[in-house]
Subunit: 408 residues, 2 copies
């Protein structure tokens, strides 16, 4: 008998029919002899509707009241899901975040989990019941309802799986799993059977977002084995787990493409110690995250700094940089252009050499010009012209032997 946590997102419980579908899936797992804890989100659209009403009443709504408001979405779903299970003859009981003892700090709308008692969940599942837990919500030490912010329901599922020492946490979503590349861009992409936490994190930060990194990091920290799979079919998904030696046989697990990047070039900076620190502190103070960074020497011994940010942050970064020009004793050189980022990710890179060479060669053969490069232990990213993005992802995918039916 295994203890399984199943998490269903908003699209999986969007209406009565889909809730019935979820109930049938849960029954299947329960009837196979598993103990099942189900974590659900609000029906899709509900949270947006509540937020809209809040902002109509107050352009700056109180965060405590916002959390109390938003938590109703999940509370509705847990009760309805329990009723749907009862209709199938499955004993089930719902629990709110507070009832499950999901204790968080009091940072309303973006609370962090402090500890999980689980309330009486263990008792209920040992009594043969399926427990339906409201995702996304917890309670502060003062007993106020808190919410966990973006991706909070995934985090709830992973966290309760950790607290209950579940054998598996299944994240049901609207995709079949994690792919070697986005199948809409690389038609020959295939589903990855298993992947390490670290690769999953790098894939996400490189643009292949299936889950929020918070949940993955939590799973990594507490060694929660989880599976990403579709709630709309029975295909096996992708298992995300601790790295095992055999994973290193695959040099590159996936290719990620992020088309939402911009390249900023600040030129004519004095070439002296501290300039880079000063520049990037200014940008960080403006709340802008920087991804890739390249420094090179331009004309007359001046330094040029090239870096990337997401496109939404370009205006803010530009404002911050230009305001800092006098202090930096810099010229007025500033350029911004859109770029795409292609990344290859794989724990096998640690032990295999030649990954960068293969990557660059593939791009060169396809006449794709590389503008920036950045590397981490298990990832290499290149910034390229957005017009080349899809072609680049395809040739790189092929070069690393990831295409379906490839043998390499």
């Amino acid at each position: 008998m295994a203890l399984i946590v199943q998490k269903y997102g908003g699209t999986s419980v969007a209406d009565v029919e889909r809730i019935q579908n979820v109930a049938r899936r849960v029954k299947e797992s329960y009837d196979s002899g598993n103990q099942v804890v189900v974590v659900v989100s609000a029906r899709s659209g509900v949270t947006n509707e509540l937020v809209k009403r809040a902002y109509q009443l107050n352009p700056n709504p109180d965060e405590r009241e916002m959390d109390l408001l938003l938590s109703v979405g999940e509370q509705e779903t847990i009760a309805l899901t329990a009723m749907a299970l009862h209709a199938l003859g499955i004993p089930a009981v719902s629990r709110t975040g507070s009832q499950a003892g999901i204790e968080t700090d009091p940072a309303h709308t973006r609370a962090r989990i402090l500890r999980i008692t689980g309330g009486d969940i263990r008792e209920q599942i040992d009594a043969g019941k399926v427990v339906i837990l409201a995702g996304f919500q917890g309670h502060s030490p003062e007993g106020q309802v808190t919410t966990l912010g973006r991706g909070g329901s995934d985090l709830s599922a992973i966290a309760i799986a950790a607290a209950l020492k579940a054998d598996l946490c299944q994240i049901f979503t609207d995709v079949d799993g994690v792919y070697t590349a986005d199948p809409r861009i690389v038609p020959l992409a295939k589903k990855i059977e298993s992947i390490s936490y670290e690769e999953m994190l790098e894939m996400a930060s490189a643009g292949s977002k299936v889950m929020q990194n918070r949940a993955v990091e939590f799973a990594q920290k507490f060694k929660v084995l989880f599976e990403v799979r579709s709630s709309f079919n029975n295909n096996p998904g992708t298992i995300v787990k601790e790295e095992v030696p055999s994973m290193e046989d695959v040099v590159v697990s996936g290719v990620a493409l992020d088309k939402n990047q911009a390249k900023l070039v600040v030129s004519d900076l004095p070439d002296r110690a501290g300039t880079a620190a000063q520049l990037f502190q200014t940008i960080a103070d403006a709340g802008v995250s920087v991804d890739m960074i390249v420094q090179n020497i331009g004309r007359e011994g001046k330094a040029n700094m090239t870096f990337t940010v997401t496109r939404d942050d370009v205006k803010r970064a530009e404002k911050a940089v230009k305001a800092a020009f006098p202090e930096l004793e810099a010229g007025e050189g500033f350029e911004a252009s859109e770029i795409a980022k292609v990344s290859v990710v794989g724990v096998g890179m640690r032990t295999h050499s030649g990954v960068a060479a293969t990557l660059f060669e593939a791009l060169a053969e396809a006449a794709v010009n590389i503008q920036l490069i950045s590397t981490s232990e298990i990832k290499i990213s290149v910034g390229i012209d957005p017009q080349d993005a899809e072609k680049a992802a395809q040739v790189v995918h092929r070069a690393f032997g990831l295409d379906v039916a490839s043998d390499s």
Copy 2:
């Protein structure tokens, strides 16, 4: 400085604009120097929508899950109302039934209040805050969410007013107050300035339903002074309070009309002790409430029993009575017909004689035939042909000097 509890029903908080209207009213009272606790219902329509979804998933939904489901309606409203007050610069904080320590028995969907701690409400209002409390909900001793059943939000308001020893509880609704008769039927009806709990209860049970009797009974028990008034205008409402001697000066406070009655006649019953008990036990076992009862002797020394039930209950009563015929050693005499009930209510009846005579005379002059009569200490009801109902209410209203601008 007075402590005032204000209760707003579902139509008063139906949408964003109406919630803003409520916030303005609360602000008015707060700015006048009052301490204010606000009790709100779910936005009208929300509860029905939730119930509909529940029954789509399960024709016999679990009552505990139902309560958890239904409580989201009020939880949404309290958060939104708090935000609306913040937008007007009023410090406000919301509390769920659990947070306010509304402890009930565990009878889900129809829980009874056991005790009210008030949580930190007193502390919050003493700190200058308006507290917004979710009506209709509480928690069982086991910490489960419970709901109070029909009229539950009125009950929440009266109960928290009792617990906080509030100076006044204002029940805001869509009518201006309690009238001497339904103004749609008796155009000369006028609003009653003040009325005793007992009269209010008799008026309701006689068909003039402004509030559920549970809330009025609770108010009577704990001597909570309350006012029924409209949330859509500034007219003073009707004060409901303990009987004071001056109330007896008015013999009849109001005329109630109930058109949803049916008269059942069971004939050819053996005229012996125990028959009536047996008959009405049978009907009670079928879950049917009986209102007026008249027994008389028919042909050949057999007894006839005439009684009234609401029209919805006719089929169930008929089935129960007919099934009991053999045991009752009764003939097969059964007739059902629709009737209307006109009642006059007033604590003044206790000390004034001649009320029945005035009533019967007025009806006789209007050629209205009386089919049944029943009396209580402060009420006289007559059953009449439904076609005479409105005329009867009008002539009786006039006969007791209740018409607007009348001097008698």
